[in-house]
Amino acid sequence: MVWIKKIIIWFIAKIIGRGLQATVRMDYNAREEIIKWKDGYTIVIDTYKNGPKICFVKQGNSLLKKKYQDDMKTDIRIIFKYTNIVYEIFTGQIGLDKAYAQNRMIVKGDIFQTLKIVRMFYICECYLFPKFIWKKIITEKPKLTSNTFNIYMATIFGLK
């Protein structure tokens, strides 16, 4: 069944990746989190060994998705210890804070900046997941400054 999970992860990773980009572009609070990063600031969400990898680069006020390369220089690399935990996070079964608390991931890079990614992720989850899901995984709902419809449109169609 691992291959089914891998396909689901790949699919949801695509959606969440685009959702994160849309959230940063359209939500003021999410954008504020990355505004002080220098252009080219690179984040990789990784899985130990052969799991999925998502890579973002900050450019202007946006996060751009970039093809992952083994030799690329990253500023923050969040590495989940096994594929199933990525599945649980991407499907809203477990929050990032819980994954952190349970030592299910390691972070290479500045923890101070990593917390900004966590908050950005929460905002994104509040837009993309229905309330009954995000309520289970987010301690307190962050302030949202855009609306779900716009974020969904931008996620699915790449609309600005």
């Binding site: 952190y100 030592n103 500045d110 101070f112 307190e140």
Partner: protein
């Protein structure tokens, strides 16, 4: 117990008790080390603590260890990098840290730099950063508070950004920790109170944060009991060796607890206060704890209630209604602070320690991005931190 996943590690050896330092040469021999680099500070050289260590080493035929005694009160990345260079130049084969939290954390920073082969500690920031074996190390605390001799965390300042940075790895726990009451006998009452209270906050936060687990709970509870029974005693009579040793053991146990369950909001704001205003960590902990407990009460009030018995005894707890125990626990901590303020001069307001309201914005920004914020049961938001700072002012 529920079925939540947790990880636990406590790999170090502990030597605790009267004349514990005298065993150090034997331990070095076990580790096959002959040329230690001692990391300490000038005050400890002056007060004779380093001499006790040197004498113990000499008895084991370790005659000329290299000594670095220039660790400042608030250590930094630059200091760690400089000591790592000295270690390499002198071809040392292990680290002995003798001092308070700053010295012990510096030693961890040096160890990280050496073990990773980096020249700059900033290149290896993060959580779970070192997988390989680290340089053999022994830690001898001279305060009873940070618990750094038992933890996987090093908090080191980045002076450029005015931020206290966290480096986290299970491999940072030293091979041997030595608790010798002679090392803390000269600690002044105010510092004894502040560091002891720091240990209390470690234990309380370890017991009440998201990463808590049944094993760390055991250490946290025992640490709280030891501190409640001995802190005021140790502050009033600094020469009380039993109280000193109990506090040292409590600090170690609280360190073990929070090393495996992390700390929460009190530390997130405390680190920020230290980074921005250079407020001593123990002062920040004592000032902030009651306010943060009140904020967290809705989420973990029942856990605070479970701790009441260590502050007031079983009989008093039994006659306190269950739903009032959490609040009562916070009240008892306030009483303890008041007493420590009277007998040890421990500050209890931010305005007493020259923190300026002008710095609040920067403190808030740093606190919400501190690694400890993520495991606090309630959300550590800008608004919440600002409200707590204003209450504590």
């Amino acid at each position: 117990m529920n079925s939540e996943y947790f990880e636990y590690q406590n790999r170090g050896k502990l030597l605790s008790g009267k004349n514990a330092i005298d065993h150090i040469a034997y331990e070095l021999n076990n580790m096959m080390c002959k040329k230690p680099l001692i990391i300490t500070d000038k005050m400890l050289v002056k007060f004779g603590h380093v001499n006790i260590l040197l004498k113990a080493l000499k008895e084991g035929d370790i005659d000329n260890p290299f000594i670095y005694d220039d660790v400042p009160a608030d250590s930094s990345v630059e200091v760690c990098n400089a000591i790592a260079s000295i270690y390499r130049e002198n071809e040392c084969d292990c680290l002995i840290a003798l001092g308070g939290g700053s010295v012990l954390d510096t030693s961890k920073g040096v160890n990280l730099t050496l073990s990773s082969g980096a020249d700059n500690l900033l290149d290896i920031m993060g959580l779970g950063i070192i997988q390989r074996k680290t340089v053999p190390s022994i830690m001898i605390p001279t305060t009873s508070g940070t618990g750094s001799e038992a933890t996987l965390v090093a908090v080191i300042a980045d002076k450029l950004q005015n931020v206290k940075m966290e480096f986290i790895s299970y491999n940072l726990v030293p091979d041997v920790a030595i608790l010798d009451p002679r090392m803390t006998l000269t600690l002044p009452p105010k510092l004894t109170a502040a560091t002891g209270f720091d240990a209390l906050v470690h234990a309380i936060e370890a017991y009440t944060c998201k990463q808590k687990n049944p094993i760390s709970d055991v250490f946290a509870i025992r640490a709280i009991k030891f501190i409640c029974d001995n802190l005021i005693r140790g502050v009033v009579d600094g020469k009380d060796e039993d109280a000193r040793l109990a506090l040292a053991n409590a600090s170690y146990m609280a360190g073990t607890a929070f090393s495996n369950s992390m700390v929460g909001m009190v530390h997130a704001i405390g680190h920020a206060l230290g980074g921005v205003c250079h407020l001593p960590h123990g002062y920040a902990m004592s000032i902030l704890l009651p306010y943060c407990m009140e904020y967290n009460y809705d989420a973990v009030g029942n856990l605070y209630g479970e701790l009441l018995q260590y502050f007031v005894g079983i009989e008093e707890t039994a006659v306190t209604p269950r739903n009032e125990r959490g609040k009562r626990c916070i009240e008892e901590i306030r009483e303890m602070l008041k007493k420590l303020n009277e007998v040890g001069g421990l500050p209890i307001r931010l305005r007493d320690v020259n923190v300026s309201k002008d710095d609040f914005e920067k403190i808030v920004e740093n606190a919400i991005n501190d690694g400890a914020a993520i495991v606090n049961y309630r959300n550590v938001s800008k608004e919440a931190v600002l409200a707590i700072l204003n209450q504590a002012y």
